[in-house]
Symmetry: C2
Subunit: 232 residues, 2 copies
């Protein structure tokens, strides 16, 4: 599917819509890494490859887990519009969010209209609560994997990878891993060269494969290296 998608995108330059679903107390960096990647991604003609939207239940300003609030559009405005990819953001507010029947209904409706669905960090709990991970492999932040597995036994939680793709449902590990998942999705859509050009523009160290451990060897070396080699 990925090569067909890439060919279609290259020949028609159809702009895909990516919708991010947010709620109070999301983790700002969970959203902004992938949001920046999709916003900056370009087709071969140098024009934006995606139309990106951030939606919430109310469509009003949404507080994050930092000092800033962000603007959003009402999710209901998108019930009849074309969406390529729906992504659920994580954050400390997720455990209150999964008790919000209205939000869950909106997530189910938007995800049902999408070719591809994804979650970042603890956003996986919302997908799971909606039943959208039933029978699928998925991941979340390393400190929440056990909770996800216990609470949703029909989900096969893989605690190690930084992102997991099971058919058209993707999930990513914590925070910065969301950027890697987004780059992989963009590579699937636009081709590998477009993703690498974008990574270079964002000055990322590398595009991590999904199989990359949440506890990277490079970081483990730094943690066990008492002389502090990460300083220049």
């Amino acid at each position: 599917m990925s090569s067909n998608t890439a060919k279609q995108s290259k020949s028609t330059y159809a702009r895909k819509t990516v919708a991010f679903i947010v709620y109070p107390k999301i983790k700002l960096l969970d959203l902004s890494g992938p949001l920046q990647a999709f916003s900056d991604a370009k087709n071969l003609d140098g024009k934006s490859a995606y139309s990106v939207v951030v939606v919430s239940s109310s469509g009003s300003s949404v507080c994050t887990d930092t000092c800033v609030s962000i603007s959003s559009e009402p999710a209901a405005d998108w019930f009849r519009r074309r969406i390529d990819t729906t992504i659920i953001v994580g954050g400390n507010g997720v455990f209150k969010a999964i008790e919000d029947a209205n939000l869950l209904s909106q997530v189910t409706r938007l995800a049902g209209r999408s070719r591809r669905v994804g979650s970042i960090c603890t956003g996986a709990f919302i997908l799971a609560e909606c039943g959208l991970l039933n029978g699928l492999r998925a991941v979340t932040h390393w400190d929440s994997c056990e909770r996800l597995a216990v609470n949703y036994p029909s989900v096969t939680v893989e605690p190690n990878p930084i992102y997991v793709q099971d058919n058209n449902t993707w999930s990513s590990a914590g925070v910065t891993a969301g950027l890697d998942m987004a780059l992989a999705m963009i590579s699937e859509d636009l081709g590998r060269q477009a993703a690498l050009t974008l990574a270079r523009s964002l000055v990322t160290y590398l595009i991590r494969p999904g199989s990359q451990s949440q506890f990277s060897e490079a970081l483990n070396v730094q943690i066990t290296d008492s002389v502090g080699r990460f300083f220049s």
Copy 2:
């Protein structure tokens, strides 16, 4: 200085204020990587080590280069308050921002009150326009280093590193490099262990040293590797 600061911080747990200065059309990820790092950083007692604020000229909602706008406080509210670190965010709007005399005056005033000053990505142009990089080494996004050097000959532009520290003035390369600079500042303040714990929480691949090239070897391998090894 760094070891003294770390000792002070560990013994008193004084919460330091970090002020981010924004303007229309900042790059969202320039802000949100470092903002998330300082927001999440903890002292040994598990409490927040920093008080973080985002300020703009007007104190109203500020558009970013993505679909979202973010909240901010008026910069003038901080003219008489204690600030530890002032950081100028980059983005496409920077070349209009450097023509805004009011903003430059506010940056100069807030930076003058701060123990430490930093810039992310093209935010270096604002520091340079304010004369705050005169006689110092600095870096910006790789595609803007030549422009910074030509426009501000009193600045010694180092085009390669992902961040540069010259006395109490820091500058970082593009986008994701801002997170590495923030982690290095946090390590200087709170100690290396706190920074590594934070990096693990954010699921970063590693804490990159300032000397890390903007064009990482790892990404270069992926770019020159035609078989697409970044997929799992």
